[in-house]
């Protein structure tokens, strides 16, 4: 119970921060909405010019919304952690009874809230704008969402660990990491499009399984449980790796005295 109280305290801390900063609130909605609007128009164009897209007119919008789940989940973890570094608050946090595992719990919780808020807004916007509801995917949507959320968490923890270890100069990892995996996740095209050797790499990403599963559902009305389970199994490994990297970075920071002099 005490542990839950401390996680709640940290979640409250991030909510206070959001509440006090309108640019941060705006940012939650802005990019998912802009992405959706852009891909909505592209979809409308392709529906009349591409037989592939015409078979499932919402496929590109579903892809962009689900991709943003991964992106927002990752940023939800890493940006919340960067806030602690920007505010040079780690020294106070880690002399309190807060455990590293509880900080991780709080980061994942605030990431979930931020992702639901940002993507939820864009998903609702798609209904009146493009007559497309991602909720039409039904229960499988939960599987897609959960897998991408967990993958985003894993990347967020890994990036946060790197920034704790190497300082805020390594902040660009937050953007580099996510855009590096985008081309091989098969967001807007089937994995089969990739060169054969790259397909081998792509199948190690949970996101590739999710987007293939999404296309199977939308084009063939077939829910591929096998793809979901593979993604979930990979996610367990990635989440353990992400949390492990964060813990290693934390221990390294304690050896090097970085918790009191975090920064550039």
């Amino acid at each position: 119970m005490k542990s839950m109280g401390r996680i709640y305290a940290m979640v409250l801390r991030y909510i206070y921060l959001l509440r006090r900063s309108w640019p941060r609130i705006l940012e939650l909605f802005y990019w998912p909405a802009v992405q959706l609007i852009l891909w909505g128009f592209i979809s409308q164009f392709f529906v009349t010019n591409s037989t592939w897209v015409a078979q499932a007119s919402g496929v590109l919008m579903a892809a962009v919304l689900l991709w943003d789940v991964l992106f927002r989940a990752h940023l939800g973890v890493s940006l919340a952690f960067f806030e602690e570094m920007y505010s040079r608050n780690l020294g106070h946090l880690f002399v309190s009874p807060l455990r590293v595992s509880e900080l991780i719990g709080a980061l994942l919780t605030i990431s979930l809230l931020r992702t639901l808020t940002g993507i939820g807004g864009a998903a609702l916007l798609a209904i009146p704008l493009y007559d497309f509801s991602i909720f039409g995917l039904g229960l499988p949507l939960l599987g897609f969402f959960a897998n991408l959320l967990v993958m985003g968490w894993a990347i967020g923890l890994l990036v946060s660990g790197l920034v704790l270890r190497f300082g805020l100069g390594a902040e660009s990892f937050a953007w580099v990491s996510i855009f590096a995996i985008a081309p091989i996740s098969g967001i807007y095209y089937p994995i089969a499009v990739l060169p054969e050797w790259l397909q081998g790499v792509a199948w190690f990403l949970p996101s590739s399984h999710v987007f293939e599963g999404m296309r199977a559902l939308m084009f063939e009305h077939d829910f591929r449980g096998d793809l979901m389970w593979l993604a979930a199994a990979l996610n367990i490994v990635y989440l353990l790796l992400g949390a492990g990297a964060f813990l290693l970075a934390f221990n390294s920071a304690r050896k090097r005295g970085l918790l009191l002099r975090v920064g550039e």
Binding site: K2, G5, R6, Y8, A9, M10, L12, R13, Y16, L17, R20, S21, E83, S87, R88, N89, G91, H92, L93, F94, V95, S96, P97, L98, R99, N251, R254, K255, R256, G257, L259, L260
Partner: protein, 252 residues
């Protein structure tokens, strides 16, 4: 020493790669005392405090607070310890009340609002409880940091320059507050400071450090006598410059 040791270091050393920052330091601080850690820049005071808090791992040696090995079991006692430093910030965008509320929850404080009101009155921060921490003056921030450090009524309070940036009047009232807190709670206070006046007025015990080692120790009066000086500032300079005014033997 006024009670069983609340803080104990045994042969604690810290290397930053090849640089020896703290060299086999051993001392203990009795429960219920107010002890100062004095030394020039780079003497190792902040490193010692950081190791005691568990923010920094020692390269070797043993540290214990309230009898608990801080390397292995720090989580058992962290709710009975607190710390304040003008060099570690609280989140700037949050108001004072929000920051203190978050920390009060982290420490599991019951009757949170009541506790905040008492501390706000004691530290004279009521007027700016709803202002963002980033908008406060350095002196106001120091008082807020002290309020945070007293939230959980700690049995051991570690302070890094507790009256830095405070005007003499406010500094005097903070010293009185710390003295009253220590007397009421029986807590142990260990403070790293450069403020000799503070040491003379507040501390029962002084540990002098130079180049990562403890080089002398005693009450302020004892040190004044031992060095034949009128002020602790002169004693500090003798130690920092290693003038050899007295032998380097550390008293038992």
């Amino acid at each position: 020493m006024t009670g069983p040791a609340a803080i104990e270091l045994q042969a604690v050393s810290k290397y930053y790669e090849d640089v020896l920052a703290v060299d086999a330091v051993s001392f203990s601080v009795g429960g219920g005392s107010i002890c100062a850690l004095l030394g020039g820049n780079g003497a190792g005071k902040t490193t010692v405090l950081s190791m005691l808090l568990g923010l920094l791992l020692p390269s070797s040696g043993r540290l214990a607070i309230l009898g608990t090995d801080m390397r292995k079991y720090r989580y058992q006692v962290l709710d009975r310890i607190n710390f304040s430093s003008p060099y570690v910030d609280l989140p700037q965008r949050l108001t004072v009340r929000e920051n203190l509320s978050v920390y009060a929850r982290l420490y599991g404080i019951k009757q949170l609002q009541q506790r905040l009101a008492v501390l706000a009155g004691q530290l004279d921060i009521t007027a700016f409880m709803d202002r963002a921490c980033g908008s406060l003056s350095a002196g106001q921030k120091t008082r807020v940091a002290l309020a945070k450090s007293l939230l959980n009524r700690p049995s051991v309070l570690l302070l890094d320059e507790p009256t830095a940036s405070l005007d003499p009047d406010t500094a005097a009232s903070i010293r009185q507050l710390l003295r009253d807190y220590q007397q009421d709670s029986g807590a142990t206070l260990l403070m790293a400071t450069h403020n000799m006046l503070e040491v003379e007025r507040l501390c029962d015990d002084v540990i002098m450090m130079r180049s990562g080692r403890v080089v002398d120790r005693g009450s302020p009066d004892f040190l004044l006598q031992r060095y034949g000086r009128a002020t602790l500032e002169d004693v500090f300079i003798d130690v920092a410059r290693d003038t050899g005014r007295v032998g380097n033997a550390v008293p038992d």
